[in-house]
Every structure is written in C-alpha cells, then in structure tokens.
C-alpha cells in the first residue's frame, strides 16, 4: 500500500508515499500551498479552493488536499492564473462578511489575514456586503461571531469527526449558508456540546473565540487535533 513513488512538484523531483495527498507531500518538502478549509487531522472538505494546483496532462485544476500523488505526476503549485484566482477567492471572502482586523480578537493570529498578506491582497475589488449577524455569546466559555465566519466548516468537522458531538453544522445554502449549533439553537443551550473547545481551536478566523479576549488576544493551536485523530484512527 505505502509504496514509494516519484513525482515532480514545481520542478523539484520528490519521493513520496502512494497514499499521500499532493498537499501533504508539498508541505513535507516545504513547498507552500495556501489552504483555509484544510486542517490536519480532519477530513478534506475541498471547499475553500485555495489549494488547487495544476497537474500536467489534466485539463482541470485539482484540489491538492484530497488528490493522491501518483507516479510521474508533474505538479505546479503556483502560476499567474492560480495566483490571480486565489486572490479573487480571498477578495470574495473578505467582501462576504465583516473581516475588520482592527477590531478582531484574532488579528495577528488569523489564517485569513495571513493568506491575504501572503497572496498580496492589497485591495478588495468587490463591494463589501457588511452583513449584521447576531453574535452568539450564550455559551459560558466561548463566543460565536458569524460575521467573521468563512464557512470553512473546520469547527463542524472537528466537532463531528474528533469529538463526536456533532454540535456544529451548516444551515441553508448558497450565500445563505450559515454555521449553526444543534438545530439552530443558542450555543449555550446546546444539549450536545461538550464544551471541549476543539471548534474554537480549529477556527481559522475570529468567528469562534474564548470569552474575555480582546483585539488580537485570541491565540490558538489546533495541532493536537491530528494527534487525537491518529490516536482514534478516525478521519482517515
């Protein structure tokens, strides 16, 4: 199963194992591929579309987070087209809800912010939607601010796949899709939430935070999720 194979990523010859994804191999070899919905230890959602790469001979871009490597594969992780499309995706995300770093608990520790800087998003060419969603502060330890949410569903996957509580899920569809707890009940009233906080650690932005944090104070680390999931042999 775990046979060795050779492939090329960005003109580098690389040896990998057959069950690895392009993203895993690239990261092992310190080749950066931007991701947002990906989180080690969780299943691949393939929804942010930032990790798409070019593979020679394949007419479409492939999501590197779910596509397994194969012998002789020739991958390009960055191209002018990919860079511009990734910037457009980030711009659209920034326009979708209220990502105002100056007032965000996660500023300085936010994956969206980091990506915008890395990919050179200097302007947002689309009108800001400025929705005004109610903040759910009903939980005794955590707070959910949908205005900062990017719908990556990392919280839902951490909750369902690692904790097994299935408190978080997506409601609605299209631009109206929305993260909810239980059946769209207040988080504090949730009968399924174990208050484990994995969702908060998994969140890439300031949508989920610990109570009592002020601007820039919300630091998080989700590295334990992958260890937990390998221990439980789930998610893979």
């Amino acid at each position: 199963m775990n046979e060795q194979l050779r492939l090329t990523i960005d003109d580098r010859e690389i040896t990998a194992q057959a069950n690895q994804t392009i993203l895993e191999v690239a990261r092992e070899n310190e080749i950066p591929i931007p991701t947002l919905c990906f989180l080690e230890g969780l299943s691949g959602a393939g929804s942010c579309r930032l990790c798409l790469v070019e593979v020679r001979g394949v007419p479409r871009f492939l999501s590197s987070c779910v596509t397994r490597v194969s012998e002789g594969m020739n991958v390009t992780t960055d191209s002018p087209k990919l860079a511009s499309y990734r910037r457009m995706i980030l711009e659209l995300l920034l326009a979708e809800r209220n990502h105002i770093c100056a007032f965000c608990v996660s500023s300085g520790n936010c994956e969206l912010q980091d990506l915008a800087q890395e990919l050179g998003v200097t302007h947002v060419n689309y009108p800001y939607r400025f929705p005004s969603y109610d903040v759910d502060a009903s939980h005794e330890r955590f707070v959910y601010d949908p205005n900062r949410c990017v719908m990556c569903t990392r919280c839902a996957r951490a909750c369902g796949e690692v904790e097994g509580a299935h408190t978080w899920d997506v409601m609605g569809r299209g631009v109206h899709s929305f993260m909810i707890t239980d059946l769209n009940q207040a988080w504090g009233d949730s009968s399924t939430c174990t208050s484990c906080g994995k969702c908060v650690q998994a969140c890439p932005t300031g949508a989920l935070a610990e109570k009592g944090r002020s601007t820039g104070e919300m630091k998080r680390s989700a590295g334990f999720l992958s260890k937990l999931s390998s221990m439980r042999n789930c998610g893979r």
């Binding site: 691949g44 959602a45 393939g46 929804s47 942010c48 579309r49 798409l52 479409r60 871009f61 999501s63 987070c65 779910v66 596509t67 397994r68 087209k81 511009s84 499309y85 457009m88 995706i89 659209l92 995300l93 326009a95 979708e96 060419n125 689309y126 009108p127 990017v150 719908m151 997506v170 609605g172 569809r173 299209g174 631009v175 109206h176 899709s177």
Partner: protein, 1061 residues
C-alpha cells in the same frame, strides 16, 4: 404470476399483442403530465362517457406522450386492419364525434394529425395496418420529419401502466438476451461498442463506467438512475418515465446484471408525482412478474429496486451530492477523488447514469452495439431527446440522431417562430449551457460541437429565443438560478456567483459601467476553473456565451442605457418607443392627443422625428410588431396618428406655433459649424438635430432639390412631394442652409469641408444599382429600379410600357411595379423565394396585387431575351425550389433544371442598391467590402477625425427610420465631441401628461386609413392612403395600453392615481 423463462415471456407477449392489436377498436389518450395539463383527463372521461352512452365495445387506455406538445391533447385511435391514427388538439366536445366514427368503423379524420402504418419498437416490431392514405404518415409531418425515436420508442403508443403491453413490443426480451450471452463481459462489450455516452450532459462513455464498476471489488455495489431533472425548460426524463417506465427498469436490470450490482436506486424528483406513481406501479408489476427481486426470469440473478424522491435541489443532480442526499445528508457535493466507482453510496462502488442513458440500453442489447453506433456521428452515437420550447411554433419532445444540424431542429422540426419574429438564439443545456446565436445554427448537435461554441448538450433542454429576449436578462436569469441553487460549500460558486448576479443586475438596471463587464469577465473563468462541482464549473456558460455572441447588447445596456428587446424595465419607455429606431415617445403623443393638447403632441413628434409626415406614410413601423395591444386584438396604428398630427400642422397654422416652439427650444448658438453631405432622411435628420443643438449647419446636395430617396425614389402616390417640401421648410425655418448641385468628389472636396467646418456628416446614400449578373442586363429596355423611379419622379411621364417584369421582392421592387402600372404597364413581379419571404412592407405587396400586379414566386432571372433589333422580348427565369435554411431562418432558393420565359417589353431589376465608394476612397475614408463606409459603431465617426457617416451609406440599403436614427445618433455624437456636453436631453425636452392606465382596453377595433379606390389609382399619382380624420386619430390614440406607465398606485377608494415621482 412469475415469468420463469423465455417461453413464459413469449406467452405474455401474445397477451400484450392481443391488447394492442386484436379485439376491436382501441383508443389511447395521451396522459402524461403534459397531456393531463392540457385537458387529457377530461377528454378521457368524455370519450368513456360517450362510449358508455352508446354502449360501444371499444377499449380506452391511457398512454404516454407522443411528444408533440403544441398539438396536445393527443389521442390515438386504432381500428384493427387500419393504421394507428393520432388525433391532435382533442377536446372533450370531440368525444361524441370520435366515438360515432369509430362505431361506424371510420377514423375521425377531422381531428387526425397523422397515421402510423407500422412501428419499429426497436426491441420489437408492430404492423398496424394500411389505409387512410389521405392522412399524412407520421414522418411527413414537419414536427416528426427527421426524428428517430429510440428512447421514445414506446412513448405515446403503449399503456405505461401495463407490463404486458411493454412485453408485447419486445420489452424484457433484451434482458433475456443479456442473460443468454456467454458472460457478463459481453453485455458490457455491447455497451462499449455502442459508444453510448452519458445523456446527463457530460457525455462520459457509459460502457467505460460500467466496466469500472464491474471491476471494483466489494461486497455490495449500487447502480443509480439520475432522474433529478431540474433544468428550467427540460422535461424529457419526466416524459420518458411517465410514458415508458419499464424501459428504465429493463435498462437498469441489464446494467445491474452486467456490473454485478445488487441494488438499483432511481433518484426521481418529487415534483414529478405522476412519474413517481407510474414507476412505482411498473416496479410492482415487474416484481410480481418475477422481473425484480430474486431468481429473475428463473435465473439466480437478484436485483432490488428502490425509488427515492428528491426534494428538488438542483445540485442533487451532481453525483456526489446525490449520494449525500441518498445517505440522508444535506445535498452538498464532496471533492473527488474518491470517485463513486470506487467509493460511492455508503462507501460502496456505485455507478450513476441518467434516465436516458439507461433507456438506451435495452435497444443496444436487442439490436447490437455496433448497429446502435451507426446512428449519429462517430463520436456522438445514437439519438438525443430534446425538449424544444420557447419562441418556437412546434414545441415538444424531439428525438434526433446526434449530429443533426441545429437549424433543422429549430426551423425544420420547430418550424421557426410562431409570430414571425426573428429567432435570435437557442439556449441548450439549461443553466449550465450556453446561448448559441442564429448565425451558428448550422452547427451539428453533438457533444464536441456544442462544447466548441461554449454550450453543452446538458440533459437536452433547448430554449428558443427571439428578438423579444434580452440576452443580458437571459444571462441574469440563468445565473440567478444557479446562484439560488448553489449549495454554498465552495467559495468560487457561493460568492463568485453572488457577485456576478449583482453585476448583471446592475447592467439590467442601467447602473453599470464598462468596468463591470470586465469584472464579470474576470470572474467567469475563475468560477469555472475553481468551483468544486459541475454546478459552479458550468454556471458561467450562459454569461460567457452571451458575452461572446451578444456583446453589443451588454454594451447597449451600459453605454446607451437601452435594452433593445424591451425586457429590462428601467431601460426603455414602452415596447413601441423602444423598437422605434428614432425612439419616438409614442405613448406620449398619443396621450397628449387624447388630452386635446395637439400643439404639444406635434412638438414632441417633431422633436423626436423631424420628418413626421413622411415617415407617417412610409415607415415600416417596427413599433406595431411590438405593440402589446396586438395580444388583445390588433396593434395601435401609431404611424397613422403621427401622420395625422403632422398633416394637421401643415393644414392650418399649427405649424407656425410648432416652429416657434422648436425655435424656443434651440440651444443658443455654439459658434461651431457643421456640414452635412446628402439631404436624404439621414442627412436631414442630422441637420435638424445639429441645428437644434445650436450649431450652424449647411447641407450639401448633389441634386437640385433636397430629400434624397424620399424625393427621387419614393413614388408620389406614397409620399406626395408637397408634404416633403413642407417638412424641409421647417428645417429651413429653424436655420438649416441648403446648397444644391454640390457633389462630393466632383466639385465638393472633403478636405475643403473639413477645413471650413468643425464636423462633417456624410450621408450620400446607396444610388448604385447592384447588378443582377445576367446576360442582357444592359439592354435599353432593362431598367434598374432606382433609376426608373427617379426618372418617373422627375418627369411623371411614361418611360416604360407594355408588359413589364420586375425582378425582386423588396420595397424598390414593389414601388417599381406600382409605378410602372401607373404609367400604363402591365406588371409581373418575379421573386426567387416565397411570398412570405419578401422583405417589402406587407401592405405595399397587397396594394400592388390589388392594383393588378401578378406575382411569380420561386423564379430567379437567367437572361433577358433580346430580339435582333436589340429590344427586349422576354425574360428567361429558372424555377427555384426551397433548400436548406439560411442564417435568417428562410430556406435558400436552390436552382432547378426547369426554365421558363415570361414575354415582356421591359424589365426592371430591383435586386439591391449599394453606395458609390469612389468619392469616399478618394477622400481617404475606409470602405468595407460591401462598399459601405466603415464607421465607429458607437459614434458613427469614420477613420477621419471629425468626419462622420450614416444612413444607407453605412448600413447599405435600409429603411427610412433606421437611416434617420443614424443621423440622430451622429448629431448627438458630433455635439458631444464639439461641446463636451450632453445637450440632447435638453433639446428633446420633458413633457408631462396623465399617467393612468385604463382599467380595460379602450378605443375599440384598430382603425385603418381610408384609401383611394383601385379604379381611381390607375393612371394617377394621387396619394393612395388618405390618412385619419381628427375623430379617428383620437379614437386610435385611446387604444394605447400605456405600457410606459410602469407603476401605479390605487388610493383608498381603489381609484387609480398617478405614482408620486
């Protein structure tokens, strides 16, 4: 009773054939959802009642739909021995007649559409009988001609709820056949040989998918039928299941047998209750017959079947979303890999095919894969069912061999537009497809060709669009659809479509700028390449194709804030105003006339159209083609009303006050000078507006008087020159100067004009005749239409006599014919196409006919017959027949071997006019291949700065209002360039009047102008159409429905009041 073997199946076949063919007359009522919606249930009951009353021993059964939606309800009648006859447009009141005829052993011919002598069910063959030759055979009807019914093989012919009838026509024999093959591989081989491609839209080879599933190793495998048909305008899968559910079951049984799947699931949308019901019934019957379950047909093969009703999310048509939905989760796609063939439903290997793909399988097994592959093209084999809907005469389900040309479907099967409007595009493949413009209608319909055009085959929806469809609005509509159906999982689709919809809404509302189209063009490829599933990846297609083929419409929406189709509400006043090339504010002058404010009515008429009396007589009135009153009874006769207003101005001293009003509204002198070369309608219009805009205008005219074609080509009986003189008088009054006998190139040099004037507008028209290219064309008695008309206009003397043949079908031909008759000739008009294809104004053709002109159609000139004295004695014509459809949807005349000669003394060639390119070329102006001047499409400016051109010189021979519109547009552009301001709105002024829509249509029937008696017209150039009197004009104005009033509120008492603006 379980069917255990082949013999048992054969016995049932006999029982079924008895039902179909033996045991007395049989009536089948087309009762698909479509038929029932058209009243088939009532027809069924009525026929039943009529039979009961008469005590008739005939059988009546529900059948599916035969596909011809436009002719529903359809009923088929079979009297043993005779053919099966399909009756169309049957209503319950027809029931007694139908039953009486059948009792008498006759076919109810009054309702008959077509007959079927024998039918190849492809898995079986049925001979009905012969006779009733007076009823056309089914494939002689335009709608069916060229169709090949494979998937629809049984639809509308058998009772879908009777398994015995399905078996009678060869059903389930293909399954037997599959069982009898030495191995399962050979079943898959046949499918691979057939080269059948997925009919859901993407076109992946079905045999390859089957082979993948067969190879997959698992304890359980699934096959799924995708019947989640959700494209707007597509309903073939619904009909296939409703009309012939067993063919789907049989196809899936064969698939399951070949691939080793133990369970089949049909994911069918819940919005198709009849399909659900019939498929459930079919499955129950099959189960009872031992065709589902275990030990099928006495073999160890077992197969379970399950129907799952989809809740209607469009995205569930995507295979991974469908699997999620089947597993009880929300219908959202997941990234692939893994592909369903390795890990699908419940993590097991799964194969998903569309309804139509499954339905093809029994035929492939019965007839062999290679014979199936002979149908269609080499890469796209077989047939495809299309739902032909929209602006098309014959709507319905059409099954065509792949590779058929789009034009044969649209113009042949569909017979073109039901209203005679120009068909603009076909949208194939629904919201994931693209708009194919009419110029590409000769494209063969196969997977690759459609893809090249930016469209897709999709599930087979074909929506025909005409000039009343705004292509920007079409793109907006489809994008709104995919936007609201997007699951929201991935960002490109969720937010990309949201942003795109907003941009398109901006364009449709007239709020957009050119950069918004650029943004749209940036977003589309991103959404296409970055989206997670097929929904997002194909959603840009409608936008991309409309941008590619109809970019001018986007630009119009943005630059001129106009929607030429009259769909985007904020971008036009009313359909009439919008279709008028001059954008005359028609509802305004009609309303002002109604309010007894004729002076203002005349003012607005003049401001919008400086030649209202001339155009009131000769305009081709596109306004009437769009008038919504036509849906009620007949269009408002708007042209005659503005003629009345203009004529009344000239009749009294009203014109004095109109002239004063015009002068009051003139912009103060700008000190800029403009020269107009040519005084035809385009030149006069440009001169009028440039003067109104404050510029000093001089018109240079080659001839001795102004008016161009209006004076020298338009016959006096259509446009009295007295009227034209009065109109030119108004122009002179407001300050236009005229210089006569000034000919460009000869004496008048363009560079001296550009030196002396700030801007020059060239409108020298099309005075050169197109040559017919036939021998004898230069004989002395062969006239070219314009030269002939000019000669008569100048002299009013007969220059022609005896028998005259006019060649052509345009207005110049008809004018020549009527003029020749007035100078004493006997006239025959010869035209190479059909009467309905003639470009001349219909009223004019009718008038010519009344005045005694003869018409010969489908004849093209070959040579002029000349005697030894050099005089014309006749013209030899070649009979044409109608061939393929051309880009305009008309059939191209094709020469035949038949020749004939019309004896005559003179010939008038009216085959077209073109400009004289030499003076333009000498002046350094770019001339296009067709000899017309090349100008910037937005401004009318030529390659020389400050030199503009318009009218026929640019468009080629056109019509008066279009020519005037170019003059108006050029004046606007010249003024903007000279002043840097936009003063046109000031000149056009705003008028206020009552904005109340009558509760009921008022004004009664359409009024037409009285005309001079035919007897009085001969030998006389007196005007034929006499015009309205005051009362009739008022009456006609009342008929306006006031489409310009877009909102109206009612006060507390319910009375309508004007909206507060």
């Amino acid at each position: 009773m379980k069917i255990r073997d082949f013999d048992a199946l054969n016995d049932i076949r006999e029982t079924g054939l008895n039902k179909l063919l033996r045991g007395g007359p049989r009536i089948g009522v087309g009762m698909g959802t479509c038929g029932i919606g058209n009243g088939a249930q009532d027809v069924y009951e009525a026929i039943k009642t009529a039979m009961d009353t008469k005590g008739v021993e005939a059988r009546i059964v529900p059948v599916g739909c035969f596909g011809y939606c436009a002719a529903e309800p359809l009923v088929n009648v079979y009297i043993p021995g005779g053919p099966l006859v399909i009756l169309a447009h049957v209503i319950p009141d027809d029931a007694p007649y139908i039953v009486e005829e059948i009792v008498a052993g006759r076919i109810p011919v009054r309702k008959a559409l077509c007959r079927i002598d024998a039918w190849d069910h492809l898995t079986g063959h049925v001979t009905y009988g012969h006779g009733f030759q007076e009823i056309p055979h089914w494939d002689e009807i335009p709608f069916f001609r060229g169709q090949k019914k494979i998937v629809l093989r049984n639809c509308g012919l058998i009772n879908p709820e009777d398994i015995e009838e399905y078996i009678a026509v060869g059903g389930y024999f293909a399954l037997c056949n599959a069982f009898q093959k030495p191995s399962r591989d050979e079943v898959i081989d046949e499918v691979q040989k057939s080269k059948l491609r997925g009919r859901g839209g993407a076109g992946y080879p079905a045999g390859m998918k089957w082979a993948l599933l067969q190879k997959a190793v698992a304890d359980r495998k699934y096959i799924i039928c995708n019947a989640d048909e959700g494209d707007p305008g597509a309903y073939m899968n619904r009909n296939e299941i409703e009309s012939d559910p067993h063919m789907l079951l049989e196809g899936m049984l064969i698939g399951a047998y070949a691939t080793g799947a133990a369970e089949g699931i049909v994911y069918l949308r819940a919005e198709y209750p009849l399909a659900v019901e019939r498929l459930e019934k079919a499955a129950a019957a099959a189960r009872e017959a031992g065709l589902l379950g275990s030990d099928i047909l006495g073999t160890p093969f077992a197969f379970d079947f399950r129907l799952v009703e989809g809740a209607g999310a469009f995205v569930c048509g995507e295979e991974t979303a469908m699997i999620a939905s089947l597993e009880g989760r929300a219908g959202r796609p997941r990234p692939r890999p893994p592909f369903p063939a390795e890990s699908g439903l419940w993590g097991k290997p799964t194969n998903i095919n569309n309804v139509e793909t499954w339905c093809n399988i029994p035929v492939i097994i019965a007839c062999g894969g290679s014979s199936f592959a002979e149908i269609g093209t080499s890469n796209s084999t077989g047939t495809k069912v299309f739902s032909l809907v929209g602006k098309i005469k014959n709507t319905g389900l059409v099954e065509m061999p792949l590779g058929s040309a789009l034009k044969d479907i649209v113009y042949g099967i569909g017979e073109g537009s039901p209203t005679g409007k120009r068909i603009k595009a076909v949208q194939t493949g629904g919201p994931s497809g693209g708009c194919i413009p009419a110029m590409h209608f000769d494209t063969p319909v196969d997977y690759e060709s459609l893809g090249t055009l930016g469209a897709i085959m999709g599930s087979g929806g074909m929506v025909v669009m005409d000039e009343d469809n705004c292509m920007v609005d079409v793109a907006r509509y489809f994008l709104e659809f995919t936007h609201s159906e997007s699951c929201g999982k991935c960002v490109p689709c969720r937010m990309g479509l949201d942003e795109s919809v907003r941009l398109l809404e901006k364009i449709c509302n007239g709020d957009a700028e050119a950069s918004d189209v650029e943004k749209l063009e940036e977003l589309m490829p991103m959404i296409r390449s970055m989206s997670l599933c097929g929904l997002g990846q194909t959603a840009p297609n409608p936008v991309v194709t409309t941008l590619r083929y109809f970019r001018d419409e986007y630009e119009e929406h943005i630059r001129t804030r106009r929607c030429r189709a009259g769909v985007c509400e904020k971008l036009y006043m009313s359909p009439c105003e919008n279709s008028c090339p001059l954008n005359m504010r028609i509802p305004a002058y009609l309303q002002l006339l109604k309010e007894d404010r004729i002076e203002e009515a005349a003012e607005i008429v003049w401001l919008d159209n400086p030649l209202p009396a001339s155009t009131g007589r000769i305009c081709q009135h596109p306004c009437e083609n769009r008038c919504r009153r036509a849906d009620e009874d007949a269009p408002v006769n708007m042209r005659e009303v503005h003629r009345y207003i203009a004529d009344s101005a000239f009749a009294g001293d009203l014109i004095v006050r109109v002239r004063e009003r015009l002068l009051e509204n003139k912009i103060p002198p700008t000190g800029r000078r403009a020269a107009v070369v040519g005084s035809g309608p385009a030149g006069l219009t440009a001169a009028f507006y440039l003067t109104m805009l404050g510029h000093d205008v001089t018109v240079f005219e080659e001839r001795e008087e102004a008016g161009g074609m209006l004076r020298y080509a338009l016959p006096e009986y259509r446009l009295p020159k007295r009227i034209l003189n009065e109109e030119i008088g108004v122009l002179e009054h407001i300050g236009v100067r005229f210089m006569y006998r000034q000919s460009l190139g000869a004496g008048l040099a363009l560079d001296s004009l550009t030196g002396e004037y700030d801007a020059v507008f060239l409108a020298t028209g099309t005075w050169n005749e197109t040559q017919g290219g036939i021998t004898g064309e230069n004989a002395p008695d062969v006239w070219h239409a314009i030269a002939f008309l000019e000669q008569v206009a100048r002299s009013h003397r007969p220059v022609i006599g005896g028998n005259v043949v006019v060649i052509g079908g345009g207005n110049a031909a008809i004018d020549s014919a009527r003029t020749a008759m007035r100078v004493g000739a006997k006239v025959t008009v010869a035209y190479r196409r059909e009467r309905s294809d003639m470009p001349a104004i219909t009223e004019e053709i009718e008038a010519a006919e009344m005045e005694g002109a003869e018409f010969v159609f489908l004849a093209s000139p070959q040579r002029v017959v000349i005697n030894e004295k050099g005089r014309v004695t006749g013209i030899e014509l070649r009979r044409t027949r109608l061939g393929d459809f051309d880009a305009s949807g008309r059939r191209t005349p094709v020469s035949t071997a038949e020749f004939f000669t019309l004896p005559c003394d003179a010939v008038i060639m009216a085959v077209g006019e073109k400009p004289d390119p030499d003076p333009l070329r000498q002046a350094g102006i770019h001339v296009r291949d067709n000899q017309t001047a090349a100008v910037h499409p937005n401004t009318g400016e030529t390659n020389l700065r400050g030199v503009y051109a318009g009218g026929d010189l640019v468009s080629g021979a056109s019509n008066v209002s279009s020519a005037m519109a170019t003059g108006k547009a050029a004046a606007h552009a010249i003024d903007r360039s000279l002043t840097g301001k936009d003063n046109m709105d000031l000149v056009l002024k705003t008028f206020s009047f009552r904005n109340i829509v009558p509760a009921e249509p008022e004004g009664g029937d359409r009024n037409v102008s009285p005309v001079l008696g035919v007897g009085e017209r001969r030998d006389s150039f007196d005007e034929v159409v006499l015009g309205f009197d005051a009362e009739t004009a008022l009456q006609e104005s009342r008929r306006c429905l006031r489409c310009d009033v877009k909102e109206q509120c009612a006060d507390r008492e319910g009375a309508l009041k004007e909206p507060v603006s």
